[in-house]
Subunit: 326 residues, 2 copies
DNA sequence: GATTGTGGTGGCAGCGCTCCCAGGTGTGTG
DNA sequence: CACACACCTGGGAGCGCTGCCACCACAATC
């Protein structure tokens, strides 16, 4: 047993394997030539010594940085205290663990995009994950991080993205409502600056237009509070509405609360749908569309860490989840 | 504007300030002597150049590590995909961001505690946050990380901890049930190996003993599924039960589901309570006790990063949240 | 005037790693 | 048999930073 708690270094491994540090490095890092014999001996020695590469030293010499930054755009710092962001960060931290890296989260105020520049000037940043980002922010990604940046939810030509198929999910929902005989379908949308929200809205508009039905849109912001207010507005402007499509489950839950408070039956008088399939949705029997946040975040983080983001958008399908609210 | 994207180094700052690198280091790191004049000039130069210390280099020379490890003990890797762990990791990542560090999460299987040793042998680990840990695990924390380790939820003499006052929260719940006239109070407990769960159980036992009432305990595991089964067991063993205390909100929600399926009125026939006050609790009108996970995790992470964990336990109060289920 | 501080400073080694470069040893071609 | 061209290897520099050490100036003490 080793009595010294000093962790094994590459030198220790090289010595144990009877090769030079250079050769050991080549084998461990996996680039450059190395004979099968050398490879074998280095790996054996490394295993025996329980060798783990020193992330700091590696990052220093490679100029690579040592942590992945999750930058979340939003109106206030409160966006960070959110179940969605929690899942993104936590999944990312699981992936990072396998690479000897860590994750940090920071908020980028919508009205102060330069904050991103300051955050990425730190050469400790090995990669960038953009959440709820905007075109402005996308343009601010420094060259150093090009090829090490992935956006979640918002695509662009310069930065690859991983997305949920908001359009497809929303389309499935609207089609379901139509098939169930609903014809006066309203929607509580998301903030206009978020393109992923707009994809849902466009799917809704497209389907209604194809069916020759008018769109009934009220601006929302993903929250239940805003959903409540929006529901009342829908009722006031279009009293004959028989279905409300929520941009998110939280929105839909707010809508349902407001409707029931007004004595409107759900789904009897008005069907209500959400998006995301959060745990609360199954408990409240909300019809919604799935949103595999963990898988999306894991895919995005892996792209960044493997340093080969797939250009363009990688889109995960969203499945219709039928429950009682619609 | 700087055209080269190379970030400023300490050498650049020292040169701009007209001092040696040593002096600049002393000023920036804040230890050792430095004249007010030197201090002033270094800070000015650093600001002007937008200098950010290279976390990797600093960690390398200090032998300090570059990320905080959140180690979660549990039966399966699925413990990581959990809202509670998400919040801990995400809050920690917020704190870490301020220190130029990152977070990684790893699962430590209950039947393979040695995994922790392998994880902490990595000298990239700057600090350790133990979640749902056990005495065995607490004993496995290496000397190198002593003083840089905090446990969340489980205390010990060797490792400082940050806790929620499970005992106090549960006591408040049981007292409330008693005050409401409930006298045949059962409890669905947590796994025996988790001391934070046991604190709740002991508070429950103590209060019932003081009131001269018998305890009615069924083993649970924090999940809704187990809560459902446990509720049926309570009904079978003690059909006259008029209140069930759940170890968690998920447990309580399972209990309620099972009771209603059996035609038992909640809270009419049987009052049910939870613990944690998750979002679902307010939506389902569950009486519970608050559990400020974010504040707890932030406090724990700060202790680790400041390298001065308060010895013993730091306990956050848990407040009774009255709703309709009890 | 010689000694002992005491606050302030720069030189320099070295943390663990990667990668360039010079120099092997073998196999195929002119 | 000389040459080219593989493949493979070890030496060594150096990434950016900290902290030890030697040094210097100046004031206080003997």
């Amino acid at each position: 047993m080793k009595t010294t708690r000093r962790p094994a270094t590459l030198d220790d491994v090289a010595r144990a394997a009877g090769v030079s540090r250079s050769t050991a490095s080549r084998v461990i890092a996996g680039n450059g030539f190395a004979s099968p014999i050398a490879r074998e001996r280095v790996h054996t020695a490394a295993d025996r010594l329980g060798y783990v590469p020193n992330a700091a030293a590696r990052a220093l010499v490679r100029g690579a940085g040592v942590r992945l930054l999750v930058a979340v755009a939003g109106a206030s710092a409160a966006v960070l205290d959110d179940g969605y962001v929690d899942q993104v960060v936590s999944s990312t931290a699981q992936v990072c663990a396998r690479y000897g890296l860590g994750v940090a989260v920071e908020w980028v105020p919508l009205d102060e995009p330069d904050r991103l520049t300051r955050l990425t000037d730190d050469h400790g940043v090995a990669g960038l994950l953009l959440v709820n980002t905007t075109d402005v922010l996308l343009g601010l990604v420094p060259g150093r991080l090009r090829g090490r940046t992935v956006s979640i939810g918002i695509g662009s030509t310069t930065v690859p993205s991983v997305d949920i198929d908001n359009g497809g999910g929303t389309a499935a929902i609207v089609r379901h409502l139509y098939a169930a005989g609903r014809r006066r379908i309203a929607m509580v949308t998301g903030p206009r600056w978020l393109s992923c929200a707009n994809r849902s809205v466009e799917a809704y508009r497209g389907l209604l237009r194809d069916a020759g039905l008018p769109a009934r849109e009220v601006l929302g912001d993903f929250t239940a509070t805003r959903g409540r207010a929006a529901a009342r507005e829908v009722l006031r402007r279009w009293p004959d509405t028989d279905a409300i499509v929520g941009i998110s489950d939280a929105t839909a839950l707010g809508v349902i609360g407001a409707l029931r408070a007004e004595g409107v039956q759900v789904p009897g008088d008005v069907a209500v749908t959400g998006f995301d399939d959060i745990p609360l949705a199954s408990a409240t029997a909300l019809t919604t569309a799935s949103h595999p946040v963990r898988r999306i975040a894991t895919a995005a983080a892996t792209m960044v860490l493997e340093q080969r983001p797939e250009p363009g958008s990688t889109v995960f399908p969203s499945a219709l989840v039928l429950r009682e609210s619609a």
